[in-house]
């Protein structure tokens, strides 16, 4: 079948059309049928009425002069009308004066006594019409005539009519369905096409398909054009998205390559630094030492002092170089992420600090609260604790009784804040922002040794863990250093 559309919308359209046509036809047929029935009935009554009038007029003298035979003759003329079943002429007192029957099986009608003011009444019952009319001669009633007609002819005609209607109805419906089916192509083919393309696009994600263009100026044409436009737009957007993605990826790749090369450069840099910077230092220190040994006798006190200073300076420079290298390594190194038992870690750090730093002869009160487990790089976190504890020990040096306290809090979000509190010399909060800078110090190295890299390292490590560092202190009243670690893993 050419252009057959099994789509549901085609069926809906055809069905709708058929329904509408059918409804219209049915209504029309009912209307016509009813009209026909009404008018034919009225016609039948009229006919009967006329017949009654004629019979009545012709029966006046028979009634007046009591001649039933003549009246019977008049009635018998009704034989000419095959639908008339029976008729009767009645005297004023209601008695049957003369009668007529179409055949012997039928009774003469027995009419109701008519009310005085009605000239004529008729009644439809039992497939018959009965009409009774008063016969009036010169203003005086002389009797009445009743005629009974059967509705056979009428009903036959009506049945004919209904049959015709039914035929017309069926034929029209079929015609309507046919025409609807033929014409739905014009409307529905583009819609079905559209639906098909839409489905293909959404299933296959292929935005290059298009609905065949149409020259129609109506809504379907608009739909087709709009649909194609939309697909074009999607395609373009897709393309530009892809391009953007590409560009982004390229940029990311480039950036990553850049970073990697920078990193490599840094590695090479620190590698060469660790080698090439140290060598001259070593030479300076070495030859100064040799000189001290060899010229022991010839050098005076000042000369020795100078040589000592040279050696110290070289040593210090070596420290600085080491610290700087360590600091840079912290930034580059890979950060592992493990569950770290802070309790153990802090204890180990304390041991390291107190063994290295020379706490002989000092009274240090050491307090560790219960510390939770955290997630992070154990080595790095250990470095943090070592730095902080080392500072605490260092800056409580002047105190006869040093107190170092370590504790931690955990808030609702799972963030852990660890603090190291000491009763050392503290610092002026005014310069707190300098605390964590590289080689920044708030005390002179004569008072407290160190390069000022420790806290910078701490900050770098903590930041790499996604946390924060800060400090509170009062000059000569001690200091508290805080760092936070987020709850979840941070790479």
């Amino acid at each position: 079948m050419i252009g057959a559309n099994n789509s549901s919308i085609a069926r809906t359209l055809i069905g709708l059309n058929t329904l509408v046509s059918g409804a219209a036809l049915v209504i029309a047929c009912i209307a016509f049928g009813t009209y026909d029935r009404t008018t034919s009935r009225a016609g039948a009554v009229r006919t009967l009425s006329v017949q009654a009038q004629i019979v009545g007029a012709n029966s006046v003298s028979a009634l007046v002069f009591n001649d039933p035979d003549t009246a019977g003759v008049t009635l018998s003329a009704l034989n000419a009308a095959p639908s008339i079943v029976s008729a009767g002429i009645y005297s004023n007192d209601g008695h049957l004066f003369a009668g007529y029957q179409r055949d012997d099986t039928i009774e003469t009608p027995r009419p109701r006594l008519m009310s005085s003011d009605a000239t004529e009444v008729h009644r439809f019952e039992n497939e018959r019409i009965t009409l009774v009319r008063r016969i009036v001669f010169q203003g005086r009633p002389v009797g009445s005539v009743a005629i009974q007609s059967d509705l056979q002819e009428l009903n036959a005609r009506q049945a004919q009519y209904v049959g015709m209607i039914a035929t017309v109805l069926v034929a029209s419906l079929i015609a309507a369905m046919l025409m609807s089916w033929l014409s739905q192509r014009a409307i529905l083919t583009p819609i079905v096409q559209l639906a098909g393309v839409a489905r293909a696009v959404s299933n296959g994600k292929d935005y290059s398909v298009r609905v065949p263009a149409t020259t129609r100026g109506d809504e379907i044409g608009t739909l087709t054009h709009a649909f194609n436009d939309m697909l074009t737009q999607i395609q373009e957007r897709d393309t530009s998205l892809h391009e953007a993605q590409h560009a982004l990826e390229t940029r990311v790749r480039d950036r990553t390559a850049e970073l990697e090369s920078v990193n490599k450069e840094l590695e090479a840099f620190s590698y060469s630094v660790s080698h090439d910077l140290r060598a001259p230092l070593r030479h300076i220190a070495g030859f100064a030492g040799l000189l001290q040994d060899q010229a022991k006798a010839t050098l005076d006190e000042q000369g020795h002092a100078h040589l000592r200073k040279i050696a110290q300076a070289a040593k210090r420079m070596g420290q600085l170089i080491d610290d700087l290298l360590a600091f840079s390594r912290i930034g580059r190194g890979h950060l592992t992420s493990r569950t770290v038992h802070l309790q153990d870690l802090v204890r180990e750090a304390w041991l390291e600090v107190t063994s290295e730093q020379g706490v002989a002869g000092r009274v240090i009160e050491w307090q560790v609260a219960e510390l939770p487990d955290v997630t992070g790089d154990p080595a790095m976190l250990r470095l943090v604790m070592v730095n902080l504890l080392s500072n605490a020990v260092k800056y409580t040096g002047p105190r006869p009784k040093a107190r170092v306290e370590v504790g931690a809090t955990r808030d609702v979000h799972g963030e852990t804040v660890v603090f190291v509190r000491d009763n050392g010399v503290g610092f002026d909060m005014q310069y707190a922002h300098k605390l964590f800078g590289v080689f920044q110090r708030l005390h002179s190295s004569d008072d407290f040794e160190g390069t000022g890299i420790g806290l910078a390292n701490v900050r770098r490590i903590v930041h790499r863990h996604g946390g924060r560092v800060w400090a509170e202190a009062e000059t000569d009243r001690g200091a508290t250093f805080y760092f936070s670690l987020p709850a979840k893993e941070h790479g």
């Binding site: 620190s270 590698y271 660790s274 080698h275 140290r278 060598a279 230092l281 070593r282 030479h283 220190a285 070495g286 030859f287 100064a288 030492g289 040799l290 040994d293 050696a311 070289a314 040593k315 420079m317 070596g318 080491d322 290298l325």
Partner: protein, 146 residues
């Protein structure tokens, strides 16, 4: 204490470092002959008795003090060759370098280095380190059979 006349091969390109190391070795009476080569190629020539060292005494050195950064052939390469040569691999090799880079440490140990010592800046520490080295490798340690 068994002291045997063994020579130490010192591979070091920097003259100052050579002088300092020799001073330290002398100062600590690590009583050995010290052969100094200025780069890795010379070191290998000596070890393989090639070129100018073709006539060196047959005994292998009892210790090789090797710097990492050297021109021509660097310490890693020398180490690799020494430790892969059946005739040479028994010679103890001590890296004496200023690099503390982990990758260097790892690489050298992978190649079979016997010890890795970082040259301290502080002269006193340097002297101590050399002393310890000498005492161990020359005096305490049983050298491999020749």
């Amino acid at each position: 204490m068994i002291t045997s006349v063994q020579c130490i091969l010192l591979a070091e390109d920097n003259a100052n470092d050579v002088e300092l190391t020799l001073a330290a070795l002398r100062g600590n009476h690590v009583a050995n002959e010290v052969v100094v080569v200025r780069d890795g190629a010379e070191a290998l020539d000596y070890l393989y008795r090639r070129q100018r060292y073709a006539d060196r005494p047959a005994d292998n050195p009892g210790l090789i003090l090797l710097d990492l950064k050297m021109p021509k052939v660097d310490g890693i390469e020398v180490l690799r060759q020494v430790k892969s040569d059946p005739g040479l691999k028994t010679i103890p090799v001590v890296m004496l370098t200023s690099s503390r880079e982990e990758q260097d440490v790892v690489r050298t140990y992978d190649l079979g280095v016997n010890a890795y010592v970082v040259k301290p800046v502080v002269f006193g520490d340097f002297m101590d380190a050399v002393k310890v080295l000498g005492q161990f490798w020359v005096v305490v340690n049983i050298p491999p059979p020749a």
